[in-house]
């Protein structure tokens, strides 16, 4: 766990990652709050807060008495959300570091092409 950010947000992100990577398929049951708490060694209330965040966003839904499940369409909604963040979190910092190092946009594109064809 990263100390600088609230743990419940990190729990939510871990679950999101599992959905995006396909480890948690749509309509699959997600581990219980207590299982997350034991696995990450965190307070169950904190784990619950992370899970509830995703319920509020419609990524997970609750079946009373059974548990939490991944909602239909959750993966594509998450991909959409992460792609929006991609610009701010990856592209812009990349461009500003490139500018600092006098790497032009063309050189940058060349480097990316080379790397991705490896």
């Amino acid at each position: 766990m990263d100390e600088s950010r609230p743990i419940f947000i990190q729990i939510a992100e871990q679950i999101e990652d599992s959905i995006i990577d396909g480890e948690l398929a749509e309509e699959a049951q997600v581990p219980s709050t207590n299982e997350y708490a034991a696995f990450y060694r965190i307070n169950p209330a904190t784990a619950g807060k992370g899970v509830n965040l995703l319920v509020d966003e419609g990524v997970l839904y609750k079946k009373r008495g059974i548990g939490m499940f991944v909602a239909k369409g959750a993966r594509s909604a998450l991909l959409e959300k992460r792609r929006k963040k991609f610009l701010a979190e990856f592209i812009r910092p990349l461009l500003s570091e490139a500018a600092r190092l006098d790497i032009s946009a063309e050189q940058l594109v060349d480097q990316i092409r080379k790397e991705s064809s490896k």
Partner: protein, 296 residues
């Protein structure tokens, strides 16, 4: 949120020295609380007061809505694991486990037996022959297996190695998840327990200096470092908890939850690093000490 303990303007003086100084706070039902502070900050005195093993100089304590002093109905629901529990001279480990159900209505014998195995405790050994770590393990087992509605652990792990401490944390979390109850854990090993806690209460010189949900403390501050000019520029408009300077370089801990502040720091070419709960508390308690000396 239901409260199980309410403390109002509590003071306990030993001579002129106030071990607990005008403390007011509440303890929430079924949450794990960390009572954090340096050695001698007043943690043990506070827990002795809450369990009616010591009496206030001023102020009031309500446990389950009543004064705990000589109140069997309240006291039977508490379990207090002390750093230095005394036992009768001839007591063996087995005797502690056999007498525990007399005091704790929710005592789980099967859980206690599991824990004895896991902590590898010799049942037939006399308590005075146990090592410091084994004696702490006895306390931890009693505290966990008692499943008391309110359990106090006062630095329960003197002499326990890292593996045994992790075992304690894991069993506490698992059993708490199955059997929710109120836990108050006093410790100075803040980094080890910070993820277990729901509420954090920090005591310093007998005073409550921080009382909050652990999750709202986390991410509240971050550190920036870089050339002194750049750091000072960035810090001048923000709340600085701590800063130190070395040659032309400065590191400053800034209180801020905003992502924009972090972006601004990155844009200014500053190195950003997280501040752990422990670091934040160290900075809080050492700065309150300065204020304390200042006002004295």
């Amino acid at each position: 949120m239901t409260e199980v303990i309410r403390v109002s303007s509590l003071t306990r003086k030993f001579g002129k020295q106030a071990a607990v100084d005008n403390a007011s706070f509440t303890i929430e039902k079924d949450a794990i609380h960390g009572l954090l502070g340096r050695n001698g900050a007043g943690k043990t005195t506070l827990m002795q007061l809450l369990t009616a093993q010591d009496f206030p100089t001023a102020g009031s304590i309500e446990v389950f809505g009543a004064n705990p002093v000589e109140n069997a109905k309240v006291l039977s629901q508490l379990c207090f694991i002390k750093e230095s529990q005394r036992y009768p001279d001839e007591f063996k480990v087995r005797h502690v486990l056999e007498s525990a159900p007399w005091f704790f209505a929710n005592w789980s014998e099967s859980f206690a037996n599991d824990l004895v195995e896991e902590f590898d405790l010799p049942r037939e050994k006399k308590l005075k022959k146990l090592s410091r770590g084994q004696l702490s393990a006895v306390g931890v087992i009693v505290g966990l297996a008692s499943r008391a509605p309110i359990t106090f652990f006062d630095e329960p792990y003197l002499g326990l190695d890292a593996v045994a401490r992790q075992l304690f944390y894991d069993r506490l979390l698992a059993d708490y998840a199955e059997n929710p109850r109120t836990v108050i854990l006093s410790t100075h090993l803040i980094d080890e327990v910070s993820n277990l806690l729901e509420r954090v209460i920090v005591i310093d010189h007998g005073r409550i200096v921080l009382d909050e949900q652990a999750e709202s403390i986390r991410g509240r501050a971050f550190s920036v470092s870089g050339t002194s000019g750049a750091v000072d520029d960035f810090a001048s408009t923000r709340k600085v908890l701590y800063s130190s300077r070395l040659g032309g370089l400065t590191t400053a801990t800034v209180e801020s939850t905003s992502a924009d502040d972090r972006k601004a720091a990155a844009a200014a070419g500053l190195e950003i690093s997280p501040v752990s709960l422990q670091q934040l508390i160290i900075q809080k308690t050492s700065s309150s000490e300065r204020e304390f000396e200042h006002s004295a």
